[in-house]
Each structure stands twice: as C-alpha cells, then as structure tokens.
Point group: D5
Chain length 95, copies 10
C-alpha cells in the first residue's frame, strides 16, 4: 500500500449556479465518506479559516490515487498538492 498526504484548496467560481454548486458539494461529501469507509481516505481535516483540507490517502499506488482524486466532484474546482509519505524511523507503530 502507498500513503499520500494531500492538501486540497477549493476555489468554486462565484458565478456557479447555486443549485449546481449545492449538488457538487453534496456529491463530494458522499463520495469522500464512501472512500473513508472503504479505508482509502483515513484522515481528513479542515484547515482552520480556509476552504481547504489536509488529507491522508491510503491506496494501492499513484494510479489509484489519481483515479480517486480526479473523480472527486470538486476536482475541477480544487488545487491539489500531493506529497508521498514514507515510514518515519521514530514512528512507534512502524514495523
């Protein structure tokens, strides 16, 4: 398995139709929670004061990660920055 850190900044255009927007946000939440339940998205935090999140993704590889992230309903409206994570030698939970 492969662990990735992602920061996602949401930038929805101000003139997007409110119904379209509400629908996208609702589908985003449903899809995110489905991935969380599947264990693919173990952590998601809100960055205080920003329409942004920091997430940890746990996937087979970068291909699965990209497929997953690019399927997010908000993907066209987000700036995402991915960082590949390795095991830290001080981690008490590591092997």
């Amino acid at each position: 398995m492969a662990l990735f850190h992602a920061r996602m900044d949401v930038r929805i255009p101000h003139d997007l139709d409110p119904d379209v927007r509400a629908d996208i946000v609702a589908r985003e939440k449903a899809y995110s929670q489905e991935l969380q339940r599947a264990g693919k998205w173990p952590h998601i935090w809100r960055i205080a004061g920003e329409y942004s999140n920091i997430s940890i993704l746990d996937v087979a590889d970068a291909d699965e990660l990209h497929t997953m992230l690019s399927a997010l309903p908000l993907f066209p409206y987000m700036e995402i920055k991915v960082t590949a994570l390795a095991t830290h030698p001080s981690d008490i939970n590591a092997g």
Copy 2:
C-alpha cells in the same frame, strides 16, 4: 483538545561534531517516541526524499504545543511550520 499539523524540515549544520549530532538525533527519537506513547503526537511520517517529517500533534493548546516542540533536541536545527486543524464536515469520525 487541539489538533495541529506540523511540517518539520531538519537542517543540521555540516560541521556539527558527529558525536554531538548522534546524541541529538538519539535524544530526539526517544523524546518523540515518549510523546507518541503519551498520545500527544499521534502521527509522524517521513516526506519521501527529504530530511523532513509531517506530523499531527494532539495537545491541550498552542502553549503546550510550543513547549513541546521547542523542547525537541533538534528544535534549533529545524524549520517548523504549524497549521491549526479543525474538524472537517465530511469526516465520518466527527461528531
């Protein structure tokens, strides 16, 4: 409790005495693991390819966070950037 995200980049001067360095790194590991066991430092990951980590800290408040981080043996040799985390509305473990 308060949750913080921290990125720590280690920059040890090349001319630091190797014994001093080894001692600092050993004490850093011990202290980090002690805080992990106490539940104050629930996650630590290595950023692949860099002498850096991304950590999640779980503390009473920013005062405890600063006291804890500034007591790290590597603190004088690290650049640390803290981000305050809030609960994400899509988090299935929230609420």
Copy 3:
C-alpha cells in the same frame, strides 16, 4: 481558550451587483461587531493601503474559529491565513 492571528484579504469580484455587495459589507460589519462585543474578536486593524485586515481571535478552539470565520458574509470573497499564537515568555501580562 485559544488565541489566533488572522490576516484577511478581501477580493470582491468587480462585477458583483452593487446592492448585493453593499448588503454583504453591511452584514459583515454587524457580525464582526457582534463578535467583538462577545469578546471573540478582541482586535481588528486595517492594513494601511490594502483592503485587508489583521485580526486577533479569542475562541474555545480551532473548530469555533472555523465556524466563526466561515460564517462571515465576506468569507467567499476573502483569502484568510490563520496563525496559532502561544504565550510569549517575555509578555509581562503572561501568567
């Protein structure tokens, strides 16, 4: 309690309807003053020459901070950057 520093840069689109804009700005002011009176927003300063402010927020935690800031009428039109504050050891008012 938790103290946060925030810099807020306002970027209202030029084509926003002037009445909508005036209403948002009026509600922003009312809401900000309500929070100031409640002691949640002890300081707000204008950055000279910019449509921006620097604020100090005094809240229970990052969750309350995010709830409060994301409820600002101008939130969709602001770029906000939050910094977590700790007590400074030289502060004469500190414990």
Copy 4:
C-alpha cells in the same frame, strides 16, 4: 500615535558562544519588558512552533519604531517585517 504590526523571526547562529547568547537573550527580555511597561509594545505573542513573535508596537512614528527595534539586543539576529496599521471601520473601539 502610530500603530505597527511586526513579525520577528530569530535566527541566532549555531556557533554563537552560549554565554554571549544567554546574555543577549536576557537583555532582550529585559528591554522588551521595559518597553511593554512604557506602553510602547502593547502586545507580543509567540508563533506556535517557531522561534518567532508577532508584536504590536505603539509609538510616535516610524523613526521611534526603528530606533526602538534596532536597539533590540537580538536585532542583528532577527528578520523583521513591519506593517503599518490603520483603524478598521468595523472596530467597536474606534472613533
């Protein structure tokens, strides 16, 4: 009177003599507290996780500000960024 916001990042060289360093830090604290007591430095906060502070200075003008800051014992070891503050129209304490 003139209000200024300053962010000060301390960068003491690793090879500075420990006694010299301790003396500078002690004198810095004494001088800072003297200025706080005189009402010139109404707020000083630690940025959580960094050897940095955010301060509010209340002085006659930029000349007094520069004289004051450049007299700080840590001045040669700090990177300081000053922002001029104006009254915010929503400030309930203004006017």
Copy 5:
C-alpha cells in the same frame, strides 16, 4: 508627519466599459494631482514597462494614508503595497 513608500500595480479588467474606464483614469489623475499640490504625495514615478507606480506619501498618519489611498478612483483595481519609512542616518537632509 509620517512618510510612506507605496507600490501600486493597476489591473483594470479587460471588459470594463471604455467610457467608465476613461472616466476613472481621468478622475484618478485629477485626484492625484490635487494631493500632489497639497504636499501629501510628494513623488510619483512610473515603473518602466509596467502599468504601475512607485510613490512617496507624506501624511499625518496611517489613518490618513488609508483614507487617501482607498479614495483613489483606481483603488478597486489596484494592488497596493505600503512600506513605512524612517529617517536614514546617512541622509544629509536629516536632522
């Protein structure tokens, strides 16, 4: 009196009505020249190759500066960065 340095970058939207634009630019020039004649805006230079200026403002304080700059007809279309100036010890006109 207080001296400030300001860099102003003009960014007028391409789709602004040409008559509106011409009117704003004309009023900007008139207002700027009125402030120059009043001694509040002693210097204004064009940055070669850019729709930008570097200015020196001579005002009572940051409140007057902000009132003045935010009243510029181009203010909604400019990015302004202010720097507080102090007397330089080598200035032959100082003291």
Copy 6:
C-alpha cells in the same frame, strides 16, 4: 511498482575538504550506476547550467525510495524534491 520524479540540487559547502569531496562524488556515481543497472533509477539527466539532476526512480514504494535516496553519499548536501507519477491517459505505452 511505483514511479517517482525527483529533482536533486547539489550544494556542497565550499570549505569541504577536496579529498572528502572527491570521495563522496566518486561513491555517488558508483552507487547511482549500481541502482541504474538494477533498474531502480531508469533515467537521470543533468539540468543544463546547474549542478542538479532530474531523475525518474522506479521502486516498490515510497519507503524503498526514501531508503535509496537517503543512502546517496551526496544526500546530506542535496535538496531533493519528489513528485509521485501516475500513468498518463495519452501514454501509448500504457496499458
């Protein structure tokens, strides 16, 4: 398998002993070529005009990548930035 892009900028201190330096550079080359022969480091290019390379690494996962990169003799003297690569939908070799 996992594919990573890495940019490595070499910054050897000017005062490093020339023999130590020559030894590090020689060991770096030998180790890099051993990894190339093992198929772990399929591409390495010099950035024209800079003491830097752009590399493609083909490893089991981020743990192997970090172990491999942090074992480079030049690792303490390099700034490395890793990017996780996924298959591009237009790639004629993907499949």
Copy 7:
C-alpha cells in the same frame, strides 16, 4: 538532437463549452500520441492529483520544440515550463 523536460499544467476555463472542451481534449490526445509514435515525445507522466503532466521531448532544437508545443490543442489553456536537459555524467547509457 535536443532533449527537453516540460511540466504542463492544464487550466481550462470552467465556462468553456463542454463540446468544445471534449473536442480539444480528444485532439490533444491524438496529436500527443502521433508525436509519441514519431519518437518526438518519448515520455509523458501524469502528476498524481493534478491536471498536469511531466514530459520528455526529443526534438531537433528549441524551434521544433516550440512549434510542436504551441500546436497542442490545449496550448492556450496550459502553463508550460521547459528545462533544457544535458547528459548526466553518471548516466550508464551515455556515450
């Protein structure tokens, strides 16, 4: 022959007609694959989590590179950054 590294970030406006968009993306893929088959574009990778690619181009010179890239159907909607590559002295495949 000349080797170039290019990072291409796609930024298609949200209000582009979906049919126009689909047509551009389809033509981009066809053209990219034609160039890949011709050996001019030996590598193309997706940056995980971003609508971006990292590519290696193998052309006669910078003129051919620019002609090729500026003919991409997505060129008006991409930010491209080119880096000239030289042979790395450790490359086992280098002459």
Copy 8:
C-alpha cells in the same frame, strides 16, 4: 543610449473576439518590426514552450522605453518585467 532587458508574457483572455485578437497580434508584429528596423529593439527571442519573449531594447532612456512598450497593441494583455543593463567588464565589445 540605454539598454534594457525585458521579459514579456502574453495573457490574452480566452473570450476575446477572434477578429479583435487577430488584429491586435498583426498590429503587434508590424509595430515590433518597425521598432526593430529603427534599431530600438535589437533582439527578440521566443521562450521555448511559452507565449513569452525575451527582448533587448536600445533606447534614449526609460521614458522612451515606457512610451514604446505601453504603445504595444498587446500591452494591456502582457506582464512585462524590465531590467536595466550595464556594460559587463568582460565584454570584448565594450569600451
């Protein structure tokens, strides 16, 4: 005479009328070539992969430079950055 280096990045809005755009680009080329023939614009190069140029301008002074550049038909759609050039002491054509 005064020598300036300029980098010009063209950013034409996607929704500009194609005929208007074609006209601007044609007039830009004609004007640029007229200035080249007059010896005012001795060099113009395309940055490979970008809708940008690097130019050397040879004019009387910064006033002539600004008059010339701000008269470019593409000026409202370009970001320009000017650098003042001096004679290099190693230049074999100098002095």
Copy 9:
C-alpha cells in the same frame, strides 16, 4: 539623466571583525553623503524595522549607476534590487 529606484538590504556576516565593520560602515556613510551632495543620490530612506534602505539615484545611465553602487563599501554585503523609473503622466512636476 536617468532615474533609478533601489532597495538595498544589508547582510553583514556576524563574524566580521568589529573594527573592519565599523570602518566599512563609516566609509559607506561618507561615500553616500558625498554622492548625495553631488546630486547623484537625491533620496535615501530607512525601511522601518529593517537594516535596509530605499533610495532614488539620479545618474547619467546604468553604467554610472553600476559603477557607483558597486563602489559602495557595503556592496559585497548588500542585496540590491534596481528598478528603472520613467516619468509618471500624473506627475505635476513633469513636462
């Protein structure tokens, strides 16, 4: 004549001999004042809170400017950024 704006940031190494430093600073001041008296350096301001100045230089051309600045005793210890200034069309003293 040619007008330039320069920002100069002084970065004297902490381990420079105090006598050497005092001598450099004294010669810098004398040379700066000589140039001010000659009308070559009409304005010099201190940036409040920083060991930096903002200056206006009035010279024959960029060659004279570079000769003048590179002869400053502090030149080896300064980061200088020059901006070429043109006449602003709103300047009441122009024309």
Copy 10:
C-alpha cells in the same frame, strides 16, 4: 545551433582568500572572453546594481552549454538559470 539565455548570480563567500578570489575572477574573465571570441557567448550584460550577468550563449546543444558553463572558474560560486530560446515569429532577422 542552439541559443540559450542564462542569468548568472555570483555569490563568492566573504571569507575566500583574496588572492584565490582575484585569480578566479581573472581566469573567469579570460575564459569568458575566449568563448566570446569563438562566437559561443555572443552577449554578456551586467545587471545594474547586482553582481550578476545576463548572457546569450550560442552552442551546438545543451551538452556543450553545460560543459562550457560548468568549466567557468566562478561556476562553484554562481547560481545559474538557463532558458532555451527559439526564433520569434516577429524577428526581422529570422528566416
């Protein structure tokens, strides 16, 4: 042939032996002029106010460019940024 633009920023350590420094600078000049005479380095300009140059290099390819630049006596003390140049369609000397 291949044309490249390079910006070179010189950063010689303050504690380099003055004789070593003088020798490096003298050899740099001789080598640069030899390359200029050979037609490989058609232009070199000083950036006014900085210990930096902007150069145009005319070489067979990126390999020759890197060999040439990395052989500069000042190479270990310079930060170099290379940009690949293509023919500009408005260039009256092209074609």
